[in-house]
Structure formats: C-alpha cells, structure tokens
C-alpha cells in the first residue's frame, strides 16, 4: 500500500456546450478496491472513458500516471496494453460461443494458425477454478445466468496481464446470491494484489467491499475518503449535495379492503413444456404497494408478464380484476382491463429509443388523442405534457428522442406511457435499475402518490432494501411458487432471504402450520 497504481490529475473534458469533467483528481492505491460513486451524469463514465482510451489523448486536459509513469493513451488498444481492463454494464460476450472460446477470444491461443482446443479447455478450466466458478468450459455462454456471465467477463480480463480492473455497475443485473459470489471474488482478487475500481449505485456493496471511496458530482471531485470514515448516508449526501431525509419515502396510507386483483391457482407452462409458475395465489388491494421478492429466475417477472398477456405458452388458473373474472390473452386485453407493466428492461421492452418522448408516451393510448381516427398532434402533446410534468421529467423538449435521455428520465417516460391509461394496477419490474439516487427518490414518490390515489401497485425488485422500504406487504417467490408472505412490520432481510433461497422447506412449514 501507499504506492499509487493510478493517478489522474486535473482532468478536464469538454463537450460542445458542457464541461463534463472539471479538474478531476482521482488516485487509486495499489491493491485496493476503490469505489467511484456519483449520480448519473456526474462524470464517472466520462472519466473511465478517458482512462480506457475511448477518448484519446489530446481530447482532454490533465495527465494520467499508471504506476507513476506518465501515459498518453491514443486508443483503447493502448490502454489495454498498459494493463487497464474495463468491464461494462452491458456484457461483451458472444452468447453463441462457449465459455472457453469467450475467455480466449482475443488471446494469442485463439490466434494460432491451428487452434489447440485441448490446451484452451485446460487453460479455461484453470481460470474458472481461479474465480471459483464450477462450470464446464464448453458450456455456451448464452446458457449461463447473467451473474455467471459477469464472472466470465472478469475471468476474461484476468487472462491478460492487468494492472487495474474497472467494473462499471457490475451488480446492476445480479441477484443477491450472484452478488455474493462477485464480492467474494473481488475480495479474493484484492488479497492477490489486483487493483480494482468499482463503480456502483449500490451503496451497501460499496460499504462492504471498498477500501476507499471517491465521490464525483457535476464533473468535480467532491472527496476521497477511506471507508472507515464514511456511512451510506454520508456518501449519499455527498453525491446529491443535499440531505436525503430518507432513502425510501414510505408513507402510512389507508388501504381499502377491496381487492383490485385476485389471482387463484395460477400456473404457466412454457413452449418447451417446462412449468414456470406453479399454483400461485395472491391478492392485491386498491392503494396497496405489494413487493415481490426472490432470486433471479424465481418466476416473478414471468408471473406478471403472463398475467399481462405477454407470455408465450399455456396458462391455468383464474384472475379477477375488481372482483370480475377476466381472461387476458394479449397485452391489449390487459391494457383494456387497466393493467400496466413497466418492464425490467426498459430499452428492450419499454421504449422505442428512436422515437420522441411524445410518441413513446402515447403508444398505449393513441385512442385518447385521436379525433375521428386521426391523431390530433396538439392534443397529443398537451396530454403528454400534463403527465410528464407530474413525473417531473427533465428533457430539452417533448420532441426529443428518448434514446438521448438519462436512465432515470427514460424510466419516467415509461411510467408516463403507462400513466396515460390511468391504470388500476401498476406492475413495476425493477423500477429503479440503473437509475441514480436522485431519480430513484422521485420515482418512489410517484409510486407513493399513485398508491394514495388508489392504484394497486406491484413492485418486483432484486434490491431487498427497496422492497422492504417501499412495500406494505411482501410476497417471496422461489422456483415458480410463493414461499413466504410478510406484512411490512414482520419483514426483514433475513426472513425474506430464507424464503427466497430455501423454497421447498418453507413451503413444507407453511403446509404444516
């Protein structure tokens, strides 16, 4: 310790009209895990793009030292050669190839005139052992969970001589158990002397993992502190530059006794004949916020996609909305019944990125802005602006393309789109994934307000604090069945995790009691 693996000094980066980085200083000691925190737009990605050579030397001011040596990266290749490996949120693996092929994709072993497959498999096995992943190197990457794919990415980076490993939001898509594996691996790497820069919105992980935390806000370095001197609240305060009284603005509300949604003995079978949801029953009351917790693959998203009519496969069981039995066959039916589904992957399932805010927002509710089958564009923009004001959307214009907004604002567009229909039931699947703290808070407030207006709300989330912080009641799923149900006061991280992991056991005990 003591020596610096990386020093970035006086970094200034300007884009037309914006100063993205304003005299940023960032120093990382050898062998430490150094967390880089900040809201979206604070400049974290820009800083990392400078370090990794995406923005070549000459397009920014300031200097970079790696191991005390001045460096000037003119390309991504040069930074890689200097031992800087960056793993982005979006994984860069070839899903159709095997683990071994991916590991050595750009490695000399694969560039041989004749590839020695045996050697590659042996080498791959070594690296898999090294990161503690017990899988066959000939497995197709596409068949692995996102969490395991993330570990493969790290292993791939390790196969080269690296000085600094940069992880950009590595756990955004991971379940609790995969996060644990990742944290163990990083701890292990630290003990082996690998220097690591860890970018994350999840402060709990930052607190358990990091040695040092640097906080950026509005393109400036706010502070660099050892972890001992920080708490989650202190970090948040520094990130947002203001006190957030609470992370989760939960309000005690009157919840009516009326069920807006009742699901009885619901099961689904997918196209391959596999049972995905197994005999699930639950109710949702008007104005209630119902949390759905569980590990990835527990069937939570699948359950609600199916209820929404978007699941390809067979389904069994009965669904009552406002006490009336309904038969939802396709999303259009669900929308008619007052359901709204905010998907976990907003770019894939929620938005048409090339379309503007207005057109995205009215996609589900064009009939509300049409006169005689013709879209009244003035009325359309007006109706949209009412809703986007409500969700506090920040955008240059309602005619701006959705693809150019930040994650938080994109999510607000998805919310607006569904609010156009005045839904009775709002299903939110990972509503704050990849969104910065400030925007999260605003989204929570919108959720609360909707609930107090009588909308039944389902929050599916892999972040336990979010489920615990927002829900009136929490249902836990595991392997396609409900394994536990808790009122707000009874729920703890521990009892939820027990139900989420030990599915079978819990079911037994429920039957017995």
């Amino acid at each position: 310790m003591g020596e610096y693996a990386l020093q970035m000094q006086g970094i200034i980066k300007e884009f037309p009209g914006v100063r993205a980085l304003d005299n940023v200083t960032f120093s990382v000691r050898k062998g430490e895990i150094h967390a880089l925190c900040g809201e979206n737009g604070a400049g974290k990605s820009t800083l990392m793009k400078i370090l990794s050579g995406v923005y070549p030397h000459g397009t920014y001011d300031g200097q970079i030292l790696v191991n005390g040596q001045k460096v000037q990266f003119k390309s991504i290749k040069e930074s890689q050669d200097a031992g800087i490996a960056i793993i982005y949120q979006e994984l860069a693996l070839v899903e159709e190839m095997t683990v071994a092929e991916n590991l050595f994709l750009s490695h000399d072993l694969m560039r041989a005139k004749v590839i020695n497959w045996n050697k590659i498999y042996v080498e791959a096995q070594k690296w898999l052992d090294h990161i503690g992943l017990n899988i066959d190197p000939q497995t197709k990457v596409g068949d692995l969970t996102v969490g395991k794919q993330q570990l493969i990415e790290i292993a791939k980076a390790l196969t080269k001589e690296i000085e600094i490993l940069i992880l950009d939001e590595p756990t955004a898509a991971l379940t609790e158990s995969d996060v644990e594996i990742l944290i163990n691996l990083l701890n292990d790497l630290r003990s082996k002397g690998v220097t690591c820069i860890y970018i994350s919105h999840k402060l709990g992980e930052v607190m358990t993992l990091a040695d040092t935390v640097t906080i950026l806000r509005d393109g400036q370095t706010i502070s660099t502190d050892p972890i001992e001197e920080l708490t989650e609240d202190k970090i948040i305060t520094k990130m947002v530059g203001r006190e957030l009284t609470e992370l989760f603005p939960y309000e005690q509300r009157e919840i009516s006794d009326e069920n807006v949604l009742e699901v009885k003995n619901y099961s689904t079978v997918d196209e391959t004949g596999k049972k995905v949801i197994n005999n699930v029953s639950f109710t949702l009351k008007k104005g209630e916020i119902l949390g759905f917790s569980g590990l990835m693959g527990a069937g939570r998203s699948e359950l609600f996609i199916s209820l929404f009519g978007g699941f390809k496969g067979k389904k069994f069981g009965t669904v009552y909305i406002d006490g009336k039995e309904t038969n939802i066959k396709k999303p259009a039916d669900a929308i008619k019944e007052g359901l709204a589904y905010v998907s976990e992957d907003r770019k894939r399932y929620g938005l048409v990125l090339g379309m503007d805010i207005t057109k995205n927002t009215t996609l589900t509710a064009l009939n509300k802005v049409m006169k005689l089958k013709v879209i009244d564009q003035a009325l359309e923009i007006k109706s949209v602006s009412v809703i986007t004001d409500k969700v506090k959307l920040k955008a240059p214009s309602l005619e701006a393309k959705v693809g150019q907004l930040s994650g938080g604002n994109q999510q607000k567009v998805v919310l607006s789109k569904w609010l156009m229909n005045n839904p009775k039931i709002l299903i939110l699947d990972e509503p704050t994934r990849g969104i910065d703290v400030g925007a999260k808070y605003e989204i929570y407030k919108i959720i609360n307000e909707l609930a107090s207006q009588g909308v039944g709300i389902v929050i599916i989330s892999s972040e336990l604090p979010e489920v615990l912080g927002m829900s009136d009641r929490i249902i836990v799923m595991s392997q396609g069945t409900i394994t536990g149900e808790f009122l707000r006061d009874e729920a703890t991280q521990e009892n939820i995790m027990t139900c989420a992991t030990g599915g079978k056991k819990r079911e037994q005990s429920l039957v017995n009691s």
Binding site: K330, V352, L363, A378
Partner: protein
C-alpha cells in the same frame, strides 16, 4: 442521421430545434438533387432542364415513386419486399389480359389490377406476420412466383393495344389552365396548413420555429410548385402519372404521421418487443403494410401497362431494387423504425435523373448501372458516417 444531429442542435438552441429536426436530411437530398440537375444541365447544354425533358423525367420516375411510397412503410416496419417488380408485372399483365382478351372496361380493369396486387401482398404479409417467415425469403419467393404466374397466364406473349381510355392514365397531361388552378389550390392549402399549425402550437404553448423559417419554407415550396407547373405547361401540361404520385404521397404522408397505423408501423420497426408489450397488434399491422405495398404495386402496374400500351413478361424487372434504393437514398434505415416518404420520393427523383441525364449524354447503359450502384453505397456511407 439528420435527426441525430438536429437533436443535439435542439439541446443547445431549443427554440430552433424543431424546424431543423424535420429538414436537415431533406436539405442534403435537395442539395444533391440540385447538384445533379446543374451537372446534367451543363453537360447537355441545358437540354436536361428543358420543359420536354422534365416532363419525361417526372413521368419516368412516377412508377418507382409509387413503389417507393409503399416500400418506405415496409422498410420502416423492419421488413423488405423484393417481389414488387414481379408484382408490378403481374398486376399490369392481369390488367392487359382483362381488357384486351376479355374486354373489361377501364375502371373495372384498374380496380382489378389493384386488387390483384393487394391480394398477393396480403398473401405475402400473412407468411411474414402469421407464419414468421422472414420477409426477405417470402418476397424472394414471391418474386419468382409472381413472375412465373405472369409468364403462365400470358403464355409468354406480349399483350398490347389497350383501350384509349386506359392509355390516357399513363400518357395524358393535365392541361394549361386547370394546371395553374391546381397549383394555386395547393399553395393555398400549404399556407392555410402552416398558419393553422402555428396557431395551434402557439395555443398549446409549444415551441415555435421562427416565422421567417416556416413561411420562408412555404414560399420556397410555392415557388417550386409554380416553377414546375410553368415549365411543364410550356410543354404539354402536368403529366397525369405525377399527379397520381402526388396524390398518393399526400395520402400516405398523412397516414404515416396522423394515424394509429402509421405510428404503429414506426413503433414496430423501432422496437418490436416494446410495441408488442404496448398492446400493439404486430401481426395485423405487418399484414396491412404488405397488403398496402401490394396495392401500390398494382397501381404501378396499371401505370406501366398504360404507358407502354402493352404488358410484357419482363415488365417491372428490377423495379424492387430501384424502389429500395430510392428509400435508402432518401434516408430510410434498413434496420427499421426510421424513414420518410418525402425522402423516398426525392430518392426516386435522383435515381430517375441519373438514368435520364446519362442517356441524354449518350453514355452507354452499363455506366448507368455502375453509377447508380455507387451512389447507393455512398448515400448509405454518408448516412452512417454522419451518425458518428
């Protein structure tokens, strides 16, 4: 591409962003068009820009323009239609058979040709939408099938000598005075539409582009409408085919901007999964897109048979490629979700100008293929590199 540039523009100069967004790409296309006109004008000693030649040029482009209108929808929806050339031939052939062999009157014949196109379009749309066979394959099959049917039903003969009234569709002109009246009506509508749009946006408290800009645009458009009418009137008048193109263009621009169907087509091409979860019936909309394309191929078939006064077995060959090229030059993205009918029309005009200008310069036909191919590649390259 322009959208990309302009939205950045919009962020910095939010007041002017709106108007720039719509037009940057059209400007580039118009500049290209003017350049082509000037170059050919010089090389042909002004003959390229003569009234007679412009009249020919517009008539020549009309068939591809009709196809390009439909092709824009198909490509925006994220598909492709390789069968339109064969379908033009088949619909035109059907028209000729019905009139020449069976003595149908012109109105019925025209309707029948459009229906033939629509039915085959529907049939292909069914394969694409409900049987999930890629459009490339379905329409490649269609290309062979329709050509085969055409050769079969005509016994491989050329069928000629259609009724006088049928020939008029593709060869007659809208005469002097009514031509000017039409031009004036168009301009009046343009002015009225702009005023109304501005007042509506104002009342909604939306961003307005500078009055100079909006009305300047109207002035430029009006000037070109009058100029075109004047030039065409100096020859024989406005060719009817180009009026048909204009009418179809107005209808389809309206459909793409102001109806749910149009909006859905862009959404489906932009992100099919998001569109599906928004409750949009993907299959039905795709079916309609192909049916529409088929009907427009029927219209093009009528125009072609009428102009040639005959249906041949090779009629319409390669038209699909010209139509696709017109769309792509006009800025339509083959990935789907992005594209404008106006762009495709200008693209069609550029392609027709190159054909026409080069033949006037007595450049051998093989060069036309080479130049058109290169322009297609370069147009897409400009599109891609301007995105960065």
């Amino acid at each position: 591409m322009s959208n990309h540039l302009s939205t950045a523009d919009e962020a910095t100069q939010s007041n002017r962003g709106l108007s720039f967004k719509v037009d940057l790409q059209s400007y580039m296309l118009i500049i290209a068009l003017v350049l082509i006109a000037v170059i050919f004008g010089i090389f042909t000693g002004g003959e390229f820009l003569s009234s007679r030649n412009l009249s020919n040029l517009f008539t020549q482009m009309s068939i591809i323009a009709v196809l390009a209108i439909g092709m824009t929808l198909v490509i925006v929806a994220g598909h492709i239609d390789l069968s339109v050339g064969s379908l033009v031939g088949l619909a035109g052939g059907a028209a000729a058979i019905l009139q020449v062999w069976y003595g149908w009157n012109t109105v019925l014949t025209v309707i029948a040709a459009i229906v033939v196109g629509a039915i085959f379009g529907l049939w292909q749309g069914w394969w694409v939408a409900y049987r999930a066979v890629p459009a490339f394959i379905v329409t490649l099959g269609g290309m062979l099938i329709f050509r085969g049917i055409l050769i079969g039903i005509t016994n491989g003969q050329t069928i000629s000598n259609l009724d006088e009234s049928f020939k008029l569709i593709g060869t007659s002109y809208f005469p002097y005075i009514p031509g000017y009246i039409l031009a004036v009506v168009c301009i009046a509508l343009l002015v009225f539409g702009t005023v109304r749009k501005r007042s509506k946006r104002k009342s909604m408290g939306l961003l307005l582009s500078a009055p100079m800009f909006d009305y300047g645009k109207v002035a430029i458009y009006s000037f070109f409408i009058l100029l075109a009418t004047y030039l065409l009137n100096r020859y024989l008048g406005i060719p009817v085919p180009i009026l048909i193109v204009a009418l179809l263009a107005v209808i389809f621009i309206f459909i793409s901007n102001n109806t749910a169907f149009g909006r859905y087509v862009y959404a489906i091409g932009g992100n099919e999964e998001a569109a599906a979860l928004s409750g949009i019936n993907i299959k039905r909309n795709v079916l309609w897109v192909f049916t529409t394309m088929g009907a427009l191929a029927g219209v093009a078939g009528v125009l072609l048979t009428s102009r040639l006064n005959a249906a041949t077995v090779s009629a319409g060959s390669n038209y699909e490629l010209d139509a696709i090229a017109a769309c792509v030059i006009g800025g339509t993205s083959l990935v789907g979700g992005k594209g404008k009918i106006v762009g495709a029309l200008i693209g069609a005009l550029i392609m027709a100008s190159i054909d026409n200008g080069m033949s006037m310069m007595n450049i051998e036909a093989f060069w036309q293929y080479i130049v058109k191919g290169l322009i297609l590649i370069v147009a897409v390259w400009i599109d891609i590199s301007s995105k960065k």
